[in-house]
């Protein structure tokens, strides 16, 4: 077993979407600072300080009251996200989770690569994080808590790695911490050096069990995080947001949670819905569609960004939710032996173009078995294999509606008289849909290939109403 601890030292503050990360900000719990950002630390504010002294140090300080419900929701989302690394994880505290990564080393090409990938992704989502790898969950937690970001792979190395940690990581109550101080134990080395039986007598049996668990002497059984059956995550925005750019930051956290959840369930989505709840309890639904089932974060994010950029907000947004209902089974593809095929770049590209231009703007072309030219060609949602007979003597461009040509002495004109090269080809009838609304109906046309003086090759026809231009032989 190997555990990766991810500890979020500024969790209480970073659960709030921040508009200005460089501005001093703190989160406050019972009138004392419980989390602060680097700008606040620079102003001289420290953890545990009273709010009044903090405000004295930085008058423009942004203050957030700690919201435990919001933290729980955020950690839940992070646990979903972590599903992309491992299906086995557990919550250690309200700001730390532990990932069991022994089983997925090879997939990520080594523990350090896995850890870097996790840290990078968390950084992009705006989380400060400390991490540590250790063979027992408690040891990993303590190392991360103390900011000692090392990797310990073997149990025998564990006591030496834990030795320099301060006793504060043990999380003991005030009386027992005092006792430890009185004994003269400054760090874990001192604690581990003491006889275990005596410690148990003075600090209680559970303390000795705690140490034994941390050192791997007795098993540490954990309840694994249970991934939800359906994905619906909702984030309350700290303040009403009226700019789509600011929504993107929050929405990205939702998308990464969705992607991890899909990875655990080995599923992909073709569609998910971003719900924007306004102050008046109305909702704006923003569907995100994909041309094939996917769980790729980058791909979902690109579509999300294009869709958000196109969105015009009619009111400010208070809640943001992401919902995915119909996840379909997506068997993981083996990594390609000779690199990626060039065609694999296509589906994400089509998704992005559609997100920006609309679904109808990107389409395929299909020939239909119809003799009337207007009905012989149609667009399809995507190019599809279909056997179609090639018709000779058909122009490559067609006008959406025939353009009347001027006529001089019965001869059609376009920059002077037309030179008729081939024809006539009679295309007629269509009585079966005559009279139907929007249908082409009966027609009787003689088509010619014509050349203008300037060398354009045209497809023209003549019917009872005169001469018309209908296409170009480009």
């Amino acid at each position: 077993m190997l555990w990766l601890a991810l500890y979020f030292p500024r969790f209480a503050l970073e659960v709030f979407p921040s508009e200005q990360p460089d501005w001093p900000a703190v989160a406050v719990w019972r009138e004392r600072v419980c989390a602060l950002n680097p700008a606040a630390a620079q102003a001289g504010i420290a953890l545990g300080q009273r709010l009044s002294s903090a405000l004295g140090l930085a008058p423009g300080l942004r203050v957030r009251s700690r919201e435990t419900a919001r933290e729980a929701a955020a950690l839940y989302g992070l646990a979903c996200w972590a599903g992309r690394f491992t299906p086995q994880l557990c919550m250690q505290s309200n700001d730390c989770m532990l990932l069991e990564v022994a089983g997925c080393e090879r997939l990520f090409g080594g523990y350090e690569k896995l850890r870097q990938a996790a840290l990078q992704a968390l950084f992009e989502q705006g989380w400060s994080v400390r991490s540590a790898l250790a063979p027992t969950p408690l040891a990993a937690y303590w190392l991360a808590l103390a900011g000692d970001e090392q990797s310990v792979f073997d149990l025998p190395q564990l006591p030496a790695a834990l030795a320099p940690l301060p006793c504060a990581v043990l999380g003991l109550d005030e009386a027992r911490s005092k006792l430890l101080r009185a004994i003269g134990a400054q760090c874990l080395q001192d604690v581990l050096a003491l006889p275990r039986a005596g410690l148990a007598q003075r600090l209680g049996a559970e303390f000795s069990v705690l140490l034994a668990r941390a050192l791997g002497e007795v098993p540490d059984l954990r309840a694994h995080f249970v991934f939800p059956e359906h994905f619906l995550q909702r984030i309350e925005l700290g303040a009403a947001i009226s700019q789509t750019q600011a929504l993107l930051f929050v929405a990205r956290r939702l998308v990464s949670a969705l992607s991890g959840w899909l990875a655990v369930r080995m599923r992909g989505i073709r569609e998910c819905v971003l719900l924007l709840e306004h102050a008046d309890r109305t909702q704006t639904r923003l569907p995100l569609r994909f041309s094939e089932a996917t769980r790729d974060i980058a791909r979902i994010e690109r579509v999300l960004r294009e869709s958000l950029e196109r969105l015009v907000l009619r009111a400010s947004v208070e809640y943001l939710a992401l919902q995915a209902e119909e996840a379909e089974l997506l068997t993981p593809s083996s990594a390609a032996l000779f690199g990626e095929l060039p065609g694999s770049a296509l589906p994400p590209l089509i998704d992005r173009l559609r997100a920006r231009l609309g679904d109808a703007a990107v389409c395929g072309l299909q020939a239909l078995p119809a003799h009337r030219p207007e009905l012989a060609s149609a667009s399809t949602s995507r190019p599809a294999p279909r056997q179609t007979p090639v018709m000779a003597q058909r122009p490559r461009w067609l006008l959406a509606r025939p353009l009347p040509l001027p006529e001089i002495a019965g001869a059609p004109q376009r920059d002077g008289p037309l030179n008729l090269l081939a024809g006539p080809e009679r295309i007629e009838s269509g009585w079966w849909d005559a009279g139907e609304a929007g249908a082409l109906g009966e027609l009787r046309r003689d088509y010619f290939v014509a050349l203008t003086r300037r060398g354009e090759c045209l497809w023209v026809f003549r019917d009872a109403e005169g001469w018309f231009l209908h296409g170009f032989f480009a």
Binding site: A360, A361, N419, F473
Partner: protein
Amino acid sequence: MALPALQLSEVLSRQDIWRGDRLAVRDGAAESSGFDALDAELPGKGWSTGALTELLPTQTGVGELALLWPVLVRLSRSGWLALVAPPYLPFAPAWAELSLEHLWWVRGVSAQEAAWVTEQMLASGAFAAVLSWLPQVESAQMRRLQLAVEGRRSLAFVMRAPTAARSASPAPLRLQLAAAGAGALSVQILKRRGPPRPEPLLLAVPRPLRGMRLKAPHHAVAGPLFSTLRTGSFSV
């Protein structure tokens, strides 16, 4: 400190350097156009991949697609093609000569969007060929397109208005197309990596002249149905 002396022959053997009186050589980065006379005049003996090719037809319908048709038909068998903002509806019965299952069509977009789509498509490298109609494209956008396609294995054709011939362009190959009588296309090479060619190239492109029943058109006009029409003197 003196730089090591560089032999002129070494410099000239580089692929991105060519002598003004010879065509540039581009190994394996070109697709034959299907017209031998044209291939002989193009650097790399064909349409260059990874570079913009600018086509300036005087009008729609002079045979600009007929010029590209052989290479499009060939590439559509194995790769993706895209038409971006074509001026008219592509008529499927004619386009079915290509593999339609590999053809994407982007329609109903503004000039800005068309340039953006083209850039995205070229940058993705997913397409064997991208044909874009950008009549109002600006020089800065053309530079972006050229940068997007560089190093890709895509063919990039941009159709521009004939007036664009007067302004400079970052495309390494620029061709002006005009009709030269029925069945012939005059290709004027405005710019290429090689010596200038002042006289236009005349290519025989396939035109829809089969079944020329109409020698004297007034014999062939539809019968009694059009009795109201005057079937008089067409100028042929």
